[in-house]
């Protein structure tokens, strides 16, 4: 009985969260006529097509494209997204990992520092984005890739510190001490003995931060124009124009946006689980 209830409740939740995904996925392969025909709901595509994807990826030749006047190619925004989100994630990890280890292992900066770092996340991004805009214009970082990477790195840095700090705290200090007794330097012990122990946590943190940066809308809206537009922002500009709502193209780009985090998540799945359960060391 308990089992039946559990399966039933899980099914309801799965349906609730799964259906929008299903709708987006099917929409992305529907031809234009099936997208939103008046008075009918098309539950599944009658004649699936990859046209939307080809348009969005810019590999349709102009003759086949009925909307040749509008540029649906999201190639540049996708590339921008990868560069900005990836760069921001790397920057946050690079700085955050060392900060986290210093805090976890050496109590660097005193007891208050972790909270001071977390405090950076206490205000909504909307509150800082206007001053940041002026600052970045002044610094000639507005509408540049470097600017985006710096902001993304700075904004996700507190998450890296907090997540990695707890992973480092779970590594017994004897692990690094053992490496040092064996002749490693403090740095050697960190890279050879400690960091590999938190591989799972590191993967989970990287994924988490990447998703945050990847799905950003507000910052890129304010801090860039055309040239460094990222994919989420581009997605929002795909409505309107002569064609009205471009549901098919929007859905295709949405699917493309879901894929990288999903693939990353699946490929590091074993680390995600390990990240939660690691610690084969008897304490």
């Amino acid at each position: 009985m308990k089992k039946v209830l559990r399966i039933a409740s899980i099914s309801v939740f799965a349906l609730f969260f799964g259906f929008p995904l299903y709708w987006v996925a099917t929409m992305s392969v529907k031809p234009k006529v099936e997208e939103n025909p008046p008075g009918i709901v098309v539950w599944h595509p009658e004649s699936p097509t990859l046209t939307n994807f080809k348009d969005v990826l810019g590999i349709n030749n102009a003759n086949d494209n009925p909307f040749a006047t509008t540029d649906f190619s999201a190639l540049t925004p996708l590339k921008n997204s990868f560069l900005a989100a990836g760069g921001g994630t790397l920057l946050a990890l690079l700085v955050g990992i060392f900060a986290a280890y210093g805090i976890a292992r050496f109590r660097a900066g005193g007891a208050q520092l972790p909270f001071q770092i977390l405090q950076l996340r206490m205000f909504p991004p909307a509150a800082v984005v206007i001053p940041l805009y002026f600052m970045f214009v002044y610094l000639h970082l507005w509408n540049t890739l470097e600017g985006l990477i710096i902001i993304y790195g700075a904004i996700t840095f507190p998450f890296v510190v907090w997540l990695m700090r707890s992973f480092f705290q779970d590594v017994p200090r004897e692990i690094s001490e053992a490496a040092i007794v064996d002749g490693c330097t403090q740095w050697g012990a960190f890279f050879k003995a400690v960091l590999p122990q938190v591989k799972g946590g590191l993967a989970a943190t990287a994924l988490f931060v990447f998703i945050l940066n990847w799905s950003d809308f507000l910052i890129v809206l304010v801090m860039t124009q055309d040239k460094w537009t990222t994919a989420p922002l581009f997605l929002s500009t795909m409505s309107g124009g002569s064609g009205g709502q471009e549901y098919g193209h929007q859905a295709a780009l949405a699917v493309l946006l879901i894929l990288p985090p999903a693939i990353l998540g699946l490929s590091i799945q074993k680390y995600l689980v390990r990240g939660l359960t690691f610690g084969a060391i008897k304490r």
Binding site: E174, A178, V181, G188, Q197
Partner: protein, 363 residues
Amino acid sequence: MSSITLQNLSKHFGRLRAVDNLDLEVPHGSFTALLGPSGCGKTTTMNMISGLETPTTGEVLFDERPMSKVAIGDRNVGFVFQNYAIFTHMSVYENLAFGLKSQPRRARADKAEIDRRVKAVAETVGLSAALDRPAARLSVNDLQKVALGRSMIMEPTIFLLDEPFSNLDSAFRAYMRAELKRIQHEVGQTMVYVTHDQVEAMGMADRIAVMDLGRLQQYGSPEDLYERPANTFVARFIGSVLNNFLPARYADGALHVGDGSVAVGDRRDVFERHDSAAGLTATIRPERVRVVDPGSDEATIRAQVTLVEPLGPKDIVHLEHQGTDVRVVVPPDRRPAIGSALGLHFDPAQVHVFDDATGLAVR
């Protein structure tokens, strides 16, 4: 081989004196145990010997050479941690080879040499069959062997072991104790062993340093500690059956213990000179108390049996004498009935007397 000398060694953490003015001499090739309850400073002492902690004051010397300027990696110590500190992302082989591979390039052994030494050590600790297994999948018992092997592979002159067996099940612990003693005998190196288990210390070590509250209480052979405890702490801490403590009083050339008296013989001068204003406590080991007929002249005191703990080869009999619990060890075939009265004979040579004010032995 190296000797270890600790001179006025202290370590303070804020106001806490973890180790307070410790002087200790660990000779070449000896097996020395640092014994004490948790929080007595034994692990801190160990960490200062290895270099993981810097002493607040005092000096650690190996072979009379001060170590304060010598980096941890250059002290040539092998360290076995209580929680093993095994690198779980590596195989057993990689764990054993880690120290050799972490040496500076010019001093590093070549691949064949590393391989030879890893296999030799694996053989010694009994891991030859498990070399390729990931360390994350080892049993607790095998993790301990890896930790031991990893400390041996650098061929250190000093082995430091911090409660290495406290997480093992008791059967394997007994096995590893014997193994370690055998390995120590084989390599002949100086070993310092931290433990809170006096049975472990008594059974393995040549010399035991008993510590409490950061201070050295007594340093000597297991026999010394058992037969001639320097103070009440050692008298209470050493011995598998809790020692007997009885209020005592010296008067008129005899030591009065409970309602009996013990001849003092040639210790008379000591007692005469001793200012016993604070009162005295006499101890006698439960194993050394002789059970006699309650009516006999040999009985120092008489007591009622309250409880019997059968342990197999021997019984611990608890008796009550003037409100004090007295323990006696008897063979199972002499097990008395509860409630019966026994006479207890105290051999004067086995009775140790301590001053209640200082806790020190009256000698």
